[in-house]
Each structure stands twice: as structure tokens, then as C-alpha cells.
């Protein structure tokens, strides 16, 4: 899927979801944008974050809502009290976590403990290899982190596509 269409989907989804009140249902019926009437947008709203999944009719609506909860709780565990900034600055890690939940558009694992265990094992493996940035680079990074920007504006994260091959996300 070309980047422009990805962006368009993300943008339009964001606008659709944003204008919905909290006290209305969390399902949006599929438009031509996301592949027709067999598809639905299912989302959950946490503070300033929206988690949006696009699923077809083979998925259970309530099941997906639970799955989003599992995903968010997993993020919470992996980042130790997750906040927006974690997701913004560590988009790669968010992807790795998501890939343990959903693989190629299909639900892979729904057991949170199992997901967290696998993520931690992979992090350990990475650490034993010396990580992406070795010790000196980490020190520099720590210095850079001192002047973190002030509170960010509204930031939204959409995990689009359960069935479409590419996972697109945006901040």
C-alpha cells in the first residue's frame, strides 16, 4: 500500500474517531476507505491515545476490544507505566510488542504473560549483544535526554490494519 494511501487512511480514521463521544459505541462500520462493509473499525480511547484496530467479520467485536486492552496492558508492563512519550520515542519497541500480539494481520497471542515473557527474553538477548547503542553512546543519549521538551500536544497512535499486510502507525 503506497504511503499516501496509508497516510490518508490514518488521517481519516483519526478524524472519524476523534469526533466520537466517549459514551457511544466503539465500533465504526466499514467505509470504502478500509475495504468495504466486511470491515469494521474497533477502537479504545485511553486519555490522549486512541488504539484503533481494523478487522473483518471473522473477528469477534468484543474479543477485539479485549485484545486492545491486552495490548495496552502489555505496553504498560513493558514500559513500566507507559505514557505517550514512551510510545513516541520508542515506536520501534511498540512495533515489536505489537508483532507478538498480531502477526501479519492475524491474532497471534492473547495471553499477556506469554507476550511479556517473549518480549523480555528478546530484550535480554539484545542486551547480551550490546544493544543498538553501546555504552558510550548510551551516555551521550542520557545527556541529550536532559532537556526533554515540555508537555507534548495531543498525540495519537493508530495501529491500523489487522488484515492488511502493513502495519501503519503515526504520531
Amino acid at each position: 500500500m503506497p504511503e499516501e494511501i496509508q497516510q490518508q487512511i490514518v488521517r481519516e480514521t483519526f478524524h472519524l474517531v476523534l469526533k466520537r463521544d466517549d459514551n457511544i459505541c466503539n465500533f465504526l462500520e466499514g467505509g470504502s476507505l478500509i475495504g468495504g462493509s466486511d470491515y469494521k473499525l474497533i477502537y479504545r480511547h485511553y486519555a490522549t491515545l486512541y488504539f484503533v484496530f481494523c478487522v473483518d467479520s471473522s473477528e469477534s467485536e468484543l474479543g477485539i476490544l479485549d485484545l486492545i486492552q491486552v495490548f495496552v496492558e502489555t505496553l504498560d508492563k513493558c514500559f513500566e507505566n507507559v505514557c505517550e512519550l514512551d510510545l513516541i520515542f520508542h515506536m520501534d519497541k511498540v512495533h515489536y510488542i505489537l508483532q507478538e500480539v498480531v502477526m501479519g494481520g492475524m491474532v497471534l497471542e492473547t495471553n499477556m504473560n506469554e507476550i511479556v515473557a517473549q518480549i523480555e527474553a528478546q530484550n535480554r538477548l539484545e542486551k547480551s549483544e550490546g544493544g543498538l547503542s553501546a555504552a558510550p553512546a548510551r551516555a551521550v543519549s542520557a545527556v541529550k535526554n536532559i532537556n526533554l521538551p515540555e508537555i507534548p500536544r495531543n498525540i495519537n497512535l493508530g495501529d491500523l490494519n489487522i488484515k492488511v499486510p502493513n502495519l501503519s502507525q503515526f504520531v
Partner: protein, 1211 residues
């Protein structure tokens, strides 16, 4: 060298990492694009370096930029470089980037094949995992073909983490490379029973996804899934399976019957809303697939509707939404059950949530009846007025039209009302559905002849009002309505009150602002109108007035001639010439009106949309033969010409007219005339003089000044639909009164006649049929060609990607279907021992014996599984009836094997197990060798289970296995037992019956009656009726009286038997009961049909109310000690049967289970549906048996023992 390394790592310290990039972008909000292009330049530099860490860092940043919408496909090769890094840290970055930006069209993707293969067989499970994850996003047909075998090997990996990923990715592989499905399927099926829940879930996931597209290929897996459903506790898996069953039941109604009970149990027991909801959904699917209206199904419907109501009433909007969604599914087949909740659904129309309102709208569609249509539409109209946002308003509009027009306007009793609703809808600004309204107007006006006069008056008012013309800016907007209005006024101009005024309205200059196609209709219909006015004037002898009308036409038509729209221009200039010619003739005082109206004579009839397609191929015409033999010069040319020719021929067949000869045409014409003559609402073609317009000669002198109104006028003279609601009520009331009067009169007459007979006067309740339509509704049905073909097949879309996966999975594999295996691949890459027996590759084994054995064993298992699939029919046919009673046991043989093999550790499988064992038996005959092995195995098992049984008696298996396990022995054959006993029999039919009870329903039993047609006649219209007693009553469909019979939901061809189930309600179960009944039916044979009857007596024994319930010996002892039970005993002499078989008989016929057995003494237990405990102590003497019973009800015990005495006396 070392220096270079150090330098590299210092450089890297100052490279931007991902966090720096994100921070930078956030700090450059005003010149983001510039900043990013700068970053991309840096990244390009970094990618040029040798250091893989630098490259990986660059790719990581690129992935982020891709997410922001930047194209990074130019870095595809660098991504592959990073993918092939040896460190997991970098590899992961590479694969993530690839999964985000690689797609079918990425050309370098073929370079990855070997890298991926290497990673798949890496010793590190996370390398393998990351490769699988990446591949799942960008797998192409080539990759799928080349890697299918490697992935399939991974499905048997030792690590569940890899197994589940490998299983899941297979779905993607199937999609891209359908040939891999059959070879991989056996292993996939195997994974359904993987010990790891994650792997199992993945396998379920894949099969469900496959089965959703081609359900019929997966029916044979139903028993396996059934087993999973009964034993799995993972809600995610359960939901998937239950959804899958929803897709399978339409193909196999017997499966549905089997499912109802476990699903109902789940509905009752689960606390997870998601699971509950899916259960309800599948139960609905089952109920839809079962056509018969058995009374116990109406209970299931009620349960579903009840649960859904709870969901809809919930404050959680999600549940509300889903509840409505599911409700709409029930609506399709059981509208009555949903209609009861009309209040709730109308309430949802007011919900603040648009999704919910839309769902509620969907439901309304099925809830309308003649009685409430007006009321519901009125409510919708108020919503139209209130609605904000055009989308919802448009949705309302289409719904109103859908609701009213459904099934040929079935629910409309007053078409005047409907026309005025349509006219009211034209006041909607900014709708996109003008054409819909227009289509409805046309349809109604053409097909309901009685309404034409009214319709024409309304349409002329619309043409006159002009507010629609003003809104002509929008395509498909409301101005489309004018298309219909103009056409109706022109075509049915004889009904016009003021034709002249309408003519003026249609010729206004403003009309030229309308879209071309509407103008064209205006022009055409102006002439029709003109012709009819002319006719009128001429007949009245007003030549001057006629000339004036012509003058108006000549003056106004040129504005259309100047139109930019070709169609309008052409019609207008043509007509202008015609009118000028008429003018000349009029000047010579030649009457022209007759000839002019002849242009538009003739009746229009609606033609069914499919009429053309349904024209049958005439006899003797072979579409496949050549009309001219194709020339066969050069080959290439030949091919070309062939295709062209064929195409053309197809076209010909499509457009072929039905061949009707002259005589036939004449006959039809005659018939139509006849029909029209008999129809009071058909306006005959002979012109009827309408004198009314005579006294309006001066109209044309009034100068027509076009007033431009920007504010839409409230159309004067248009009735509002509301008034019809009142009128309709009055009318109905009137009708009722009249009917009552008639009835009364009739009754009085009757009374006068008979004097004494007096019947209860029924209250004037209004039923659907009572409402007579206001006008004679004469819906002209659409015309179809004579002898049209009835087929209604919709061709499948040949481009469906899932079509390739529609393959027969039960057929054994052919050699040619092996998955391509890399030839040069080293054997040592195989890490898992199972690798060798890839089920599809029937290799000639050169392996050591051990492996061979294992292989054979596996093969056997596979055979067994396959057998299981083939014997789906058997699995389904022994469907235990919904009540949890023991299934009929057909033979001793089965009894024996069941007793032996019933596995102690697989309680949940008690029902599925049986057919499997049967299969084994069947398998035994043709295959001698393996069977002996099996037999031995079985004996071993039996020995073990026996040993255990001696120590720990209580059968932990569920009730069905109970009596069987308890009673049977290998040493002595037991006569075949059947719980079905004869009910009645005559020359036509034989009835046997069995009664099943369930602990869940304390005052209800199900009577299954097998009806066997013993004659050579065809038996139909069977109806079963019983005389209810105070205690026992047959459940009848809602609304029928106690004297009505219950129809048997099938017919019986000669020699066929089938089973019907009837539910009875019982109050007290302590006494046996007999009910008299009759089966009536029609027997039809070559000579004719006769009405026949068969009387019977249905015996409800006390044993029928007992349900086999296992009981532990300690609980049993406690029960006996409690002292709440009364006691009684019997003794029967002259017993020759062995004690073992005796117990089996008691278990089978009286539904007991053995608690404990010591030598020739046994304790037994059972429970009644109303909770009575029944305990027995059975002792066998030399030739006698004594039975001591204890029960919480002495009458019940007495009766039970009596029944037992009869059974034992036969032994």
C-alpha cells in the same frame, strides 16, 4: 584497522539515533519537511558506511519516517543488508523495516529468499521468530512457493513459540500459493490438538479463516471442533470455533441440532460477554438453518431474544450495538419474536449514537406490518426533520423507501398516503437520493393504476411549485424528482385537472437550468401533454383555443433547441418542426389531434429486471455449433478470429428476442384487452371527454411572469401525510364496524335459525388480514417471457482470491502434490525428529526401524483421523436428542467396544468418542494386520480400566457412557436393546417412540417418534394430536388451541423413515401416564389420495422421568444415611440371565447407573428431572433377584419398582 573501529564508534556517538530524530522533528514544527529532508540526507550518508550498526540505526530511523508517510523504497537494498546482519538486534530492525515497506512490487524481494531460509533454520528461536513475523507481512507468491516446505517443517518445531508463528503464517502462504494447502493440511489439522494453547489457538485461527471462505471443505472437521469446543477453556479459541460453527451449520442442519444443547449451556454458564454474544449468534445461525418449527426451538429463540434484549438494554453502548446487530439476524427468519420488542427498538432510534440508530433502522425494516407501517413511517419522518447531518438523513430516507416498498409494497394499504410521503420527502434539502424518490414515484404510478389520478395531481403541483427547479445545482439531488413528475404528468395527462397550467409550468425558462436528462423528459412529455390538450379542445370544437396552445409551444420550444445537451436539442428541434406542421394544418382547419395522440398511444407495462436473461434457448438451437465454419489458414490468425467470433455470438444470445409467432401475439393482445375490459381501474383508450376545461378559455392570455423564489415554498394543495394516518384509522375503524355489523347480522340470522346456538362474541381484535386496503390495490406484476427459466443462479466472482483455496481436503495426496523442496539443502538442518515424516512426502524409508515404526504409527493415526472425517455422517446421525438422555444403543458389538475403550481420562469426549470406536471396528475387517495390534492394545486398556473400576467405582464420565460402561461384559452376549418401543402400526405407517428427559428442564420431556412408511404411498400432511390430560400436555406452536394437532415437519416417501420430536410438559412425575392420540395423514399413490388416521396410546412411564446421573459411593452412603427416603422392595423369581446383563438392562431401560458392585450385589442410583433421588440395592440369589429401593417420594418408588418388575420378569 583497530583505529578505524574506534573512530567508527566515536562517530556513532554523534549520529542521531531514533530518539534524536523524533525530538528533532518535534522541535522543528514550522519547517518539518526541510528538517526531515536534511535527516534523510544524513541517513543516506550513514547507509554508505561499512559499519552494520550505523546502517541499522539509519534503517531504524527510516522506518519511523516511513510511518510519517515518507517513501523509503529506495533503501530496500540497505534494509536487506540489515536483515542479514548476524546480531539479533540489527536483524530485528531490518525485518521491521521490510515488513513496513516491502510489498508485491518490491523488486529486490527475491534476493531475500535465501536469507530468510537461513534465518528460519537458525538455532536461535528469536531469529526464526523475527523472520516469520517479517515474512508474514511481505510474503509473495514466489517466496511462498520457495519457503512453504521450510515453514511446514517449523510447524513441528520443538519450541511452541516457533510452532505458533509457523502455523499462523501458513494462512498467508496458502493465499499466495494455494497448491500448498493440501499437502500442509494434515499437519495443520494435527496442530489443532497441540499441547500448547498458543499453537492450538493459531491452528484454530487459520482453519477458521480458511473455512470462512469455503466452509463445505471443512465439514469433516466438525467432530474435532466439537470436541475442542466442549473441552477448551480459552475464550478466544471458543469464540473462533463457535463462529466457525456458525459458518458450517447452514451446510449441515444435523450439525446444528447437535450444537444447540452445548451452546445453550454455554449461554447459561459463561460470564464473558464476548463468548455469550458469539454463542447467541451461532444459535441464531443454527435456528436459521433448521427449517422445521419444532417447539423446543422456539424456546431457543426465546432464550436468544431474551439475552439480546438484556444486551440492548445495557448501558454499555457496545453491547447495545451488538445486540441490535444480532437481533437483525433473527429478524430474517423469526420476525415475530423480534416484533415483540418493537418498543425497545423504536427507543434506540432516539439514541445519541449514530451507529446504534442505524442498526435500529435496519431492524425496523423487518418489523413493519400493515397495521403499524404508517405509525413507524410517521416516527421516521419526525426523525428526518430532526436529523443533523445529511448522511443520517439520507439513510433515513432510503430506509423509509425500503420499508414501504419491500416485497412489492406488501404493507401499504393506502397508496395516496405513500405518494404524499414521497412528496413530503422532496422537501429535503441537499439529499443525494432524489433519484430514489423519483424511481418510487414512477414505479407506483405505473404499477398501481388506481392511484394515477391522485399521483398526477400531486406531480403537477410539484412541477408547478418550482422550488425543486431552484435546487438543481446538485447532481443526483432532489431535482431528480422532476424527472418522475414530468413523465407522470405527460404519460397520464388524461388525469390532469389543469393541463394547461401544467403545460405552462413545464415550459418555463427556469427549466433550462435543470440537468440535461431531466430537460429531455420535459420536452418529450410536453408534447404528450400538448397532444392531449389538443384532443380535448378539438373535440369540444374550440379551434381557437387549440391554436393558442400551439402558439405557446412554438414560442417556448426554441429555448430547448438552444440547449447544450444533445439529447434535449435533438428532441426539441424535432418536436418544434412537428408543432409547426400542426400549426399549418390548424390554419387550414384540418383536425390533427387524433393523429398527434396516436404518436403516444399504447400501454406501458413493467418488465421484470431479469426477464431478458430468462428467455430460454429455443429448441433446436445449439449455441455451440458454428454458423460458419471458421477458416483455418494460419494458426495465429485463426485464434484471433475465434475469440472475436465467440464474443459476438455471446452477445447475440443475450439480445435475442423471444420468438413469438403472429398468432401468439394476437392471442396475447386479445387476452390483454379482455383483462383491461374487466378491470374497472383501467382507463380505456377511447378518449373520454373532459368538459371541465371548457370554461377556462382565457388562461393563455395571462402573461406568465417567472417569479424567482429563493425560499422554497410550502407547496400549497399538497396534503400532508399525517392526515392520512388519521383518515386511515377512521377508515379501519369503519371497516371493523361494518364487519362486526355483518357478523352480527349473520349471527342474528343464525340465531333466528337455530334459536339455541349462541356463541361467545369475539372481541374486535384486528389481525393483519383484516385490514383491507383503501384503494383496490392493483399491483401489476412484472412481465416475464413465457416459459422463462426458473434458475436464479448468481455466478461466482471468478476473481475471488479465495477461490483457489477451494480444494477437496479429504482426497488422498498424489505424488505430484509434494511441496517443492530445495534440492541442495543439507539434511542436518532438520532439528526436529518429526521432520522426516512430513505426511505428504511418502518417502521410501531408509531410516532405522525405530523411526519406521513411529512413522507407521503416525500414519495409522492419520488414517483414523481421515476415517473420522469420512464418517461425519455417522457422527451426526447418532446425534443424541437435545435432552441429555442416553442415546439408543443399536447393537451389542458397539456396547462391548464402548465399555472397553471409553477412556477414563477423556470425559468431555464421551459423545465424539463413540463414532470413532465404530470406525475402528469398521477398519478392522479389511486391514488384518494393524487391527490385531489394535485389539491387543484395546484389551490392555480394558484390563487397566477394569482394575481401576474395581477400586474406584463412580464413572466420572458423563451420563451417556454410564449405563454402557456399567453394564456390559465381553464374556456373555446381551440381546440387542433399543429404547424405542412400538407406539402403533397399520398398513401405512409404523410408529416407535422414546422419551427423553433432561435435568435442565424439570417439567418437560421430549418424545421422539420414528415414523416409518411401510406402504408404497407417499405420506404427507402428517399431523400428530393427543388429548392432553391435566398433568401432561403437548407443547403446541404459539396461537394454536389445545384441539389443534402439531404438524410433523416432513413428508415420507415410500419406505422412508424419519424422526420427529414433540415436547410435553408434565406437572407431577410420580405416576405413570397414558395419553390417547391420533396421527392423521394423507396417503397419496397412483390411484389418488386418501385421508388416513392411526390411533395410539403414548405411555409415559416413571422411568422416563429418570435421568442417568453418576453418583460417588460416599455421597450415596450419605444419602442413604440421611433417613429422608422411604423404602420399598420387590422380588422376582425365575431369572436366568447373568447378573452383569441384568444390571445392564436396569441401567438401560430405567436410566440407573451402578454406584458399586460387589459379587452378586450392586447399588444403583438415579435422579428424576424434578430432583427425586432414587437408590437401589439389587441382590441376586440362585434364580431370583430382589430389589430394595429408597426414594424421596414413595409413590414414585412404588411405580418404578412395578415397572422394574415387568422388565425383570422378562429376563
Amino acid at each position: 584497522m583497530a583505529l578505524k573501529m574506534v573512530k567508527g564508534s566515536i562517530d556513532r556517538m554523534f549520529d542521531k539515533n531514533l530518539q534524536d530524530l523524533v525530538r528533532g522533528i518535534r522541535n522543528h514544527k514550522e519547517d518539518e519537511a526541510k528538517y526531515i529532508s536534511q535527516c534523510i540526507d544524513e541517513i543516506k550518508q550513514e547507509l554508505k558506511q561499512d559499519n552494520i550498526a550505523v546502517k541499522a540505526n539509519a534503517v531504524c530511523k527510516l522506518t519511523y519516517l516511513q510511518m510519517l508517510g515518507y517513501d523509503i523504497s529506495w533503501a530496500a537494498f540497505n534494509i536487506i543488508e540489515v536483515m542479514s546482519a548476524s546480531k539479533f538486534t540489527f536483524k530485528r530492525i531490518g525485518y521491521l523495516a521490510a515488513s513496513q515497506c516491502f510489498h508485491e512490487g518490491t523488486d529486490v524481494i527475491m534476493l531475500t529468499t535465501n536469507q530468510i531460509r537461513k534465518d528460519l533454520s537458525s538455532p536461535s528461536q528469536y531469529d526464526t521468530g523475527v523472520a516469520l513475523t517479517g515474512l508474514s507481512c511481505f510474503v509473495t507468491s514466489d517466496l511462498a512457493r520457495d519457503l512453504a516446505n521450510d515453514i511446514m517443517t517449523l510447524m513441528s518445531h520443538t519450541k511452541p513459540y516457533i510452532r505458533k508463528k509457523a502455523v499462523l503464517i501458513m494462512y498467508k502462504v496458502f493465499l499466495k500459493y494455494p497448491e500448498s494447502l493440501r499437502p500442509a493440511f494434515p499437519r495443520l489439522k494435527e496442530k489443532l490438538e497441540d499441547p500448547d494453547p498458543g499453537v492450538q489457538s493459531a491452528a484454530v485461527n487459520v482453519i477458521c479463516e480458511l473455512a470462512r471462505r469455503n466452509p463445505k471443505n471443512y465439514l469433516s472437521l466438525a467432530p474435532l471442533f466439537f470436541k475442542l469446543m466442549t473441552c477448551s477453556t480459552n475464550n478466544w479459541v471458543l469464540i473462533k470455533i463457535i463462529k466457525l460453527f456458525g459458518a458450517l451449520t447452514p451446510l449441515e442442519p444435523r450439525l446444528g441440532k447437535k450444537l444447540i444443547e452445548p451452546l445453550t449451556n454455554l449461554i447459561h454458564s459463561t460470564s464473558a460477554m464476548s463468548l455469550l454474544y458469539e454463542c447467541v449468534n451461532t444459535v441464531i445461525a443454527v435456528l436459521i438453518s433448521l427449517s422445521s418449527g419444532m417447539p423446543n426451538h422456539s424456546a431457543s429463540i426465546q432464550l436468544c431474544v431474551q439475552k439480546l434484549r438484556i444486551l440492548i438494554e445495557d448501558s454499555d453502548q457496545n453491547l447495545k450495538y451488538l445486540g441490535l446487530l444480532a437481533m437483525s439476524k433473527i429478524l430474517r427468519t423469526h420476525p415475530k419474536s423480534v416484533q415483540a420488542h418493537k418498543d425497545l427498538i423504536l427507543q434506540c432510534l432516539d439514541d445519541k449514537d449514530e451507529s446504534i440508530r442505524l442498526r435500529a433502522l435496519d431492524l425496523l425494516y423487518g418489523m413493519v406490518s400493515k397495521k403499524n407501517l404508517m405509525e413507524i413511517v410517521k416516527k421516521l419522518m419526525t426523525h428526518v426533520d430532526k436529523a443533523e447531518g445529511t448522511t443520517y438523513r439520507d439513510e433515513l430516507l432510503t430506509k423509509i423507501i425500503d420499508i414501504c416498498s419491500q416485497s412489492n409494497y406488501q404493507y401499504i394499504t393506502n397508496f395516496e398516503w405513500y405518494i404524499s410521503i414521497l412528496v413530503e420527502l422532496t422537501r429535503l434539502e441537499g439529499t443525494r437520493h432524489g433519484h430514489l424518490i423519483a424511481a418510487q414515484m414512477l414505479d407506483v404510478a405505473i404499477r398501481v393504476k388506481a392511484i394515477r389520478k391522485f399521483a398526477v395531481s400531486q406531480m403537477s403541483a410539484l412541477l408547478d411549485s418550482g422550488h425543486l427547479v431552484a435546487s438543481s445545482t446538485q447532481r443526483n439531488g432532489i431535482c431528480e424528482v422532476l424527472y418522475a413528475a414530468a413523465w407522470i404528468c405527460g404519460e397520464f395527462s388524461e388525469h390532469l385537472q389543469e393541463p394547461h397550467q401544467t403545460l405552462e409550468a413545464m415550459l418555463r425558462p427556469k427549466v433550462t437550468t435543470l440537468p440535461g436528462h431531466i430537460q429531455a423528459v420535459y420536452v418529450q412529455n410536453v408534447v404528450k401533454l400538448y397532444a392531449s390538450i389538443l384532443l380535448q379542445k378539438e373535440q369540444a370544437g374550440e379551434t381557437e383555443a387549440a391554436q393558442e396552445v400551439t402558439q405557446v409551444m412554438v414560442e417556448r420550444l426554441p429555448q430547448f433547441v438552444q440547449s447544450a445537451d444533445l439529447e434535449v436539442q435533438e428532441r426539441a428541434s424535432c418536436i418544434l418542426q412537428l408543432v409547426k406542421h400542426v400549426q399549418k394544418l390548424q390554419a387550414k382547419a384540418v383536425p390533427v389531434a387524433e393523429e398527434l395522440s396516436a404518436l403516444f398511444a399504447g400501454e406501458l407495462n413493467p418488465v421484470a429486471p431479469k426477464a431478458q436473461k430468462k428467455v430460454p434457448v429455443p429448441e433446436g438451437l445449439d449455441l455451440d455449433t458454428w454458423i460458419n465454419e471458421p477458416p483455418s489458414d494460419s494458426e495465429s490468425e485463426d485464434e484471433k478470429s475465434k475469440t472475436i467470433f465467440r464474443e459476438e455470438e455471446q452477445k447475440h444470445t443475450q439480445h435475442r428476442q423471444p420468438e413469438v409467432d403472429e398468432a401468439e401475439l394476437a392471442r396475447r393482445r386479445e387476452a390483454r384487452k379482455q383483462e383491461q375490459a374487466n378491470n374497472p381501474f383501467y382507463i380505456k383508450s377511447s378518449p373520454s371527454p373532459q368538459k371541465r376545461y371548457q370554461d377556462a378559455p382565457g388562461v393563455e392570455h395571462i402573461p406568465v411572469v417567472q417569479i424567482d423564489l429563493s425560499v422554497p415554498l410550502k407547496v400549497p394543495g399538497l396534503p400532508t401525510s399525517d392526515q392520512y394516518v388519521k383518515l386511515e384509522e377512521e377508515r379501519r375503524h369503519q371497516q371493523r364496524l361494518e364487519k362486526d355489523k355483518k357478523k352480527k347480522r349473520k349471527r342474528e340470522r343464525e340465531r333466528e335459525k337455530k334459536g339455541k346456538h349462541r356463541r361467545q362474541r369475539s372481541l374486535p381484535t384486528e389481525s393483519e388480514e383484516d385490514i383491507a386496503p383503501a384503494q383496490q390495490v392493483d399491483i401489476v406484476t412484472e412481465e416475464m417471457p413465457e416459459n422463462a427459466l426458473p434458475s436464479d443462479e448468481d455466478d461466482k466472482d471468478p476473481n475471488d482470491p479465495y477461490r483457489a483455496l477451494d480444494v477437496d481436503l479429504d482426497r488422498p495426496l498424489a505424488d505430484s502434490e509434494k511441496l517443492p523442496v530445495q534440492k541442495h539443502r543439507n539434511a542436518e538442518t532438520s532439528k526436529s525428529p518429526q521432520k522426516e515424516d512430513v505426511p505428504l512426502v511418502e518417502k521410501k524409508s531408509k531410516k532405522p526401524k525405530k523411526k519406521e515404526k513411529k512413522h507407521r504409527e503416525r500414519e495409522k493415526e492419520r488414517e483414523k483421523e481421515e476415517q473420522r472425517g469420512e464418517d461425519l455422517d455417522f457422527w451426526l446421525s447418532t446425534t443424541p436428542p437435545p435432552a441429555a438422555a442416553p442415546a439408543p444403543v443399536p447393537s451389542v458389538e458397539e456396547l462391548g467396544t464402548n465399555a472397553i475403550t471409553a477412556p477414563k481420562d477423556e470425559c468431555e469426549g464421551h459423545r465424539t468418542e463413540k463414532p470413532e470406536d465404530q470406525d475402528d471396528d469398521a477398519e478392522r475387517d479389511p486391514e488384518r494386520k494393524p487391527s490385531r495390534h489394535k485389539k491387543q492394545h484395546r484389551k490392555e486398556k480394558a484390563g487397566r480400566s477394569k482394575g481401576k473400576k474395581a477400586k474406584q467405582q463412580p464413572p466420572t464420565c458423563a451420563e451417556a457412557a454410564g449405563p454402557v460402561e456399567n453394564g456390559a461384559a465381553e464374556e456373555e452376549p446381551l440381546p440387542p436393546m433399543s429404547s424405542y418401543c412400538l407406539l402403533a402400526e397399520n398398513a401405512y405407517i409404523k410408529m416407535t417412540y422414546d422419551i427423553q428427559a433432561s435435568l435442565q428442564k424439570e417439567s418437560q420431556v421430549t418424545v421422539s417418534i420414528i415414523l416409518e412408511n411401510q406402504s408404497s404411498s407417499f405420506l404427507k400432511n402428517m399431523e400428530l394430536n393427543v388429548l392432553d390430560s391435566l398433568n401432561t400436555k403437548m407443547a403446541r406452536p404459539e396461537g394454536s388451541s389445545v384441539h389443534d394437532g402439531v404438524p410433523v415437519p416432513f413428508q415420507l416417501p415410500p419406505g422412508v423413515s424419519n424422526e420427529a420430536q414433540f415436547v410435553f410438559t408434565i406437572q407431577s412425575i410420580v405416576m405413570a401416564q397414558k395419553l390417547k392420540g391420533t396421527l392423521s395423514f394423507i396417503a397419496k399413490d397412483a390411484e389418488g389420495a386418501t385421508h388416513e388416521k392411526l390411533d395410539f396410546r403414548l405411555h409415559f412411564s416413571c422411568s422416563a422421568y429418570l435421568v442417568t446421573t453418576p453418583c460417588y459411593s460416599d455421597a450415596f452412603a450419605k444419602l442413604l444415611e440421611s433417613g429422608d427416603l422411604s423404602m420399598s422392595s420387590i422380588k422376582v423369581d425365575g431369572i436366568s440371565m447373568s447378573f452383569q446383563n441384568l444390571l445392564a438392562k436396569i441401567c438401560f431401560h430405567h436410566h440407573f447407573s451402578v454406584v458399586e458392585r460387589v459379587d452378586s450385589c450392586a447399588s444403583m442410583y438415579s435422579r428424576s428431572i424434578q430432583g427425586h433421588h432414587v437408590c437401589l440395592l439389587v441382590k441376586k440369589g440362585e434364580k431370583s433377584v430382589s430389589v430394595d429401593g429408597k426414594c424421596s417420594d414413595s409413590t414414585l418408588l412404588g411405580n418404578l419398582l412395578e415397572e422394574m418388575q415387568v422388565t425383570l420378569a422378562q429376563c
